[in-house]
Amino acid sequence: MYDFAYHRPKSVADAVKLLKDKPEARAISGGMTLIPTLKQRLARPSDVVDLGAVKELSGIKLEGTNVVIGGMTKHAEVATSADVKAAIPALAHLAGHIGDPQVRNRGTIGGSVANNDPAADYPGAVVALNATVTTNTRKIAADEFFKGLFETALADGELITSISFPKAEKAAYMKFPNPASRYAMVGVFVAKTAAGVRVAVTGAGPCVFRVKAMEDALAKNFSSAAIKDITIPADGLNSDIHGSAEYRAHLVGVMARRAVDAANK
């Protein structure tokens, strides 16, 4: 790891100021992606701004029919939160299956969503549940947030302060893990909310995406039978030694059907 200057601000405002003042600064929340990257010397930030002491970013609360999760909330907290389990059990389930227990004890929802790794789990939930991402400057709708591979609508120095998930009538997340890393090779989040049905796929492409054909079919009939003939073209999907694009396309169908079945249970 290259050395850097370390900062531990106590407020969002201080953190944002530091990030804006130093163009080569990086924010660290859980550090589950950043620290391994730094260890491999694949990045050389001048400054690291640790959000660990920013108290206002943590916590889970209910606001009307929404679950609002602070950006620095750890995966383990989401997985075990009584409020999340009651309102959106699928979200708790998803959080409980990110990485391993030690990663869940450090990794945060804000960090994961801001990083937008193509194989991350949370983006599936954010898009399928049509969540709203709140930053220090604005609110961003899920569909506007994820822009591409590791790319989001966040501007430089903009921090996720919380994410608001509308309660789902039915929802489930099914993940097919990469056998080695256990990252999502394909993860499908299916949600039926007051606003309609959404099917979001993570892991399969460069960025989370929705499957409109499935959404339309499920809107009419929320059963796995309704989507059994809907296939996803392989073009443009990710391909590596663990899964060809064709295989990933196939798994999207399988995981979507299983997610619908799980949501109906």
């Binding site: 850097f4 200057a5 660290i28 550090g31 391994p36 491999q40 640790d50 660990g52 391993d100 227990p101």
Partner: protein, 161 residues
């Protein structure tokens, strides 16, 4: 960048001057000479470095020493009451032959204790196997590790640890 860092390790206040990039595991091993915590990989997957920070098991190779400022850290060296009185999890590992070369063992034991507590001393085989996702062992085939953790859960409960 040199920074002062202070924390409690195994009940003892410790402090030192570190570079910002110093990992917690480096602080433990190189600054404090506590070499029980091991490093087995560089991609945060093997779990040989697991320690307890403020009641949560974490990978000490994926947290900066400065991030643990003010924390209470427990390592493998801090578990046994005395050389002759092992923690029930250590005892169960020994009783069930859950270690061979011993390299993954410290992290394995730390993860196992955390697992038992999180599941309120109630575990089944499938849960134990799933919860060991963050710890690799190349010797034991996990069979006896699973047995040991299942045996330790009630022992920890009755020992009140």
């Amino acid at each position: 960048m040199s920074i002062s860092v202070a924390m409690t390790v195994n009940g003892k206040a410790v402090s030192g001057k570190v570079e910002a990039r110093t990992l917690l595991v480096q602080f433990l091993r190189e600054h404090l000479g506590m070499t029980g915590t091991h490093v087995g990989c560089d991609t945060s997957q093997c779990g040989a470095c697991v320690v307890d920070v403020d009641g949560k098991s974490v990978k000490s190779c994926t947290i900066l020493a400065v991030q643990a400022e003010g924390s209470k850290v427990i390592t493998i060296e801090g578990l046994a009451e005395s050389p002759d009185k092992l923690h029930p999890m250590q005892e169960a590992f020994r009783e069930n032959h859950a270690l061979q070369c011993g390299f993954c063992t410290p992290g394995m034991v730390m993860s196992a204790i955390d697992m038992v507590k999180r599941h309120n001393y109630q575990l089944d085989e499938a849960t134990v196997r799933r919860e060991l996702e963050g710890n690799l062992c190349r010797c034991t085939g996990y069979h006896n590790i699973v047995k040991a953790i299942l045996a330790a859960a009630p022992a920890m409960k009755s020992a009140g640890v």
